[in-house]
Amino acid sequence: MTTVESENPLRVGLRRDRGAEPCTLVIFGASGDLTERKLVPALYNLQLDRLLPSGFAVVGVARREMSDDAFITAMREGTREHSRREMSDENWSEIAGGLSYVATGNNPDDYGNLARHLDDIDRRRGTGGNRLFYLATPPSAFATIVTRLEHAGLHRPGPGGGWARIVLEKPIGHDLSSARELNHTVNQVFAESDVYRIDHYLGKETVQNLLVFRFANAIFEPLWNHKYVDHVQLTVAESIGIEGRGRYYEEAGTTRDMVQNHMFQLLCLTAMEPPVSLAADAIRDEKVKVLQALRPVVADAVGASTVRAQYAAGVIGGEKVPGYLDEPDVARDSRTETYVALSTYVDNWRWAGVPFYLRAGKRMPKRVTEIALRFRDVPHHLFDHASRPNTLALRIQPDEGITLKFDSKAPGPKPRLQPVSMEFRYGTSFGQQPPEAYERLILDAILGDSTLFIRRDEVEASWSHIDALMNVWAAGDGALPRYVSGTWGPDESDAMLRRDGRLWRRL
């Protein structure tokens, strides 16, 4: 038997084996897209799976004046449109009963109203003073909200005890100094263990499967090093453009939008050493070591090891699309990249001399995220036709799965080699739909499990590397290279790999 005092013995072995304590989720930015498209649909699906705690309540907070009913109606429509599973009014009513809305303007007293509202929920729904604050607002509002939460005493648990946690959406800062400043502000109010920085890539099943694939299968880990791996390619390609977000994108660019967070997280999970346990900090300790081992940026080498470019007009899926410079809210002389490729090294024992090639771009021929390990060639070629190196590709999205490419003898009298692939697809082997990333992440935050969230030192280590790159880029001038929309990026990117005697994978 398990100790009654330490954990709930009746929870052990249940599918919902981590019993979440009753709590209130407070969403700042409740009138925004993220809340309607992702957060509330995720909550609906968690409720369907009976994964939310009893008494669970959601308080939407935004500037706009809105009644509870109007908020509930908006969220119901959003859920109907965006839930991965069909919405039924019957199931919706279970979550709707715990929804309410509070408008906050510039008046700090508004947070006093919020505090009283939360106390009232504690009394009515037995949420025990447990609060999870989710900041789904523009990052510029983070510091103000955190400070006002502190002034209203909401950074501490409610009167009945419990806990207070905060979830921050990306981006965490615009560069190293702003990230440090924000982290400092947040950590003055909330302890680091109560801060949950989201990178929704980490909520994806296939990203989590990286750990299982590497550390639960004995056959791959022995090959996972410089002795057998020639190089690693990480690709995050999107077929969409900036989708009307010119103002945001001009400030961000692909490097800040994709590389600093998502791609560096994928890089960390690919390159990290086995953690001593699955505890949050054990995993995050290993991830941060990878970031610390990234080869420092040397200004003179940046030109040869990085490529930035912008998409030009082209055709995607049979439709003409404009070039980046013709998009609304984009400066005609913009030097913001919509494509970036870079070559880097993880300078440690395991990965010595193995290049990691990263590329991310918009208006690529298709949407695909994958990690590919290209293995070294055989030491001696026995056959007339040169064999092709083996490749292990982990597809993150879409068609999540794993492919191993190897050579096989084609039928016939001659030893003719033909590449074949062995495929594992999630959709084929597991009939059920995987949960959305936000479902997993919200649930983990409620449960107090920070494994899939980014720690402060991770954020700052990745910004440190990106800052160094961006400083070199900022010193340059002239227009960026262009690539035609619907292609795999500029020639310069292919040339970067060709110089190393390698090629990008054709996806």
Binding site: E21, S54, G431
Partner: protein
């Protein structure tokens, strides 16, 4: 019947015929599912339908053993078929089924045939859809080749000997396999609801002071009022909070007596739970935790009362399970379920 090699050839031909260049068929196999049908005219068709639904979630090779035909002479008919559905990305994903139809006189050849047709190195789940275990000629040989033995005790009319047989099977040595009872699996929402009383750490010490557990369930009752579902819930609570029997009395770890009361409700379906009440003495106060099915039987209402003080009641929706959905969940599990085995062991003593 052809040899197992012939059957494999037939399966290969089936896949060749199903695939075209434009629309290849994706095959996936993550388990062997042996299903032993109960007697009855519609049983084989119903089982095939269930297997098809399971294949949509967990692809594998199904080996379905039809009810023995009394006048089938020496025949052991074996034939192949496929279950296909549209998978992710619109691709057609297929699983295979081998149906084995023995006669009474060829029943003894079934285990050997199954053994030859199992996909190597994949787990073997045997779903025993027949009513009893004892005296069944296929029981012992199939248990020996199974990693997981699945059955459904919901309608059992004699819980005591049945649970005792199951307990003996689960404890069988040497046997690397495990037992899963769908009657137990279907209680998970109730277990979850009951567990939720104690998610709050402040309430948890009440588990150490339990004085009474009362459970009422639907279905055929034993003389003591116990059904399999009731016995499982009582056995689960008892084993998780450390109750132990002392003669006819169940005691807490501190020696205090706990009254166990099981009753059967005749107007409920077998396996349905009507109410679970746990009474506890904690800090000199009597606390009552009551989980009760609502009139529509689609929700469980949770009420906690301490003396005259009642905390706000909560309702949790009960998911509507069917047999295929339950079985799908089971064939995605591997390994022994220690919680079930402890609950089974206690349940067998309670009834």
């Amino acid at each position: 019947m052809g040899s197992p090699f012939d059957v494999e050839q037939q399966l290969a031909e089936l896949w060749r015929a199903a695939s075209t260049d434009e629309q290849p068929v994706l095959r996936a196999c993550s388990m062997n599912l042996v299903v032993v049908c109960d007697d009855g005219e519609r049983e084989l068709a119903a089982t095939t339908e269930l297997v098809g639904r399971i294949a949509e979630t967990v692809p594998g090779r199904a080996l379905v053993v039809g009810p023995p035909r009394p006048n089938g002479a020496d025949a052991l008919d074996v034939y192949v078929s496929a279950h296909c559905h549209r998978g992710a990305g619109g691709a057609q994903v297929c699983s295979e089924q081998v149906t084995i139809e023995p006669s009474c006189s060829t029943l003894d050849r079934v285990p050997g045939t199954i053994l030859q047709l199992l996909v190597e190195d994949l787990p073997v789940y045997t779903w025993w859809r027949r009513r009893g275990l004892d005296g069944e000629p296929l029981f012992d040989p199939l248990a020996g080749l199974s990693d997981t033995w699945v059955l459904n005790s919901t309608g059992t009319t004699r819980p005591q000997p049945h649970l005792e047989s199951l307990r003996a099977l689960a404890a069988r040595e040497p046997w690397p396999g495990c037992v899963v009872d769908l009657a137990w699996v279907s209680l998970e929402p109730w277990r979850d609801a009951i567990a939720s009383f104690f998610d709050n750490p402040a309430v948890r010490p009440a588990l150490g002071g339990i004085t009474r557990i009362a459970i009422s369930t639907g279905g055929p009752a034993a003389a003591c009022g116990a059904t399999v579902a009731g016995a499982y819930l009582a056995g689960w609570i008892a084993s998780r909070v450390g109750l132990h029997p002392e003669g006819a009395v169940w005691r807490r770890e501190d020696g205090g007596a706990v009254a166990l009361s099981l009753s059967a409700v005749s107007d409920l379906e077998p396996g349905e739970v009507s109410a679970v009440t746990i009474e506890s003495e904690h800090n000199d106060a009597r606390v009552v935790f009551e989980a009760r099915s609502t009139a529509a039987r689609d929700c469980v209402s949770l009420v906690v009362s301490a003396g005259a003080h009642h905390l706000p009641s909560r309702r949790i929706r009960l998911p509507q399970f069917d047999t295929a959905a339950l079985a799908c969940g089971v064939v995605q599990q591997t390994g022994r379920d220690a919680i079930f085995e402890s609950a089974l062991s206690a349940a067998a003593r309670i009834v």
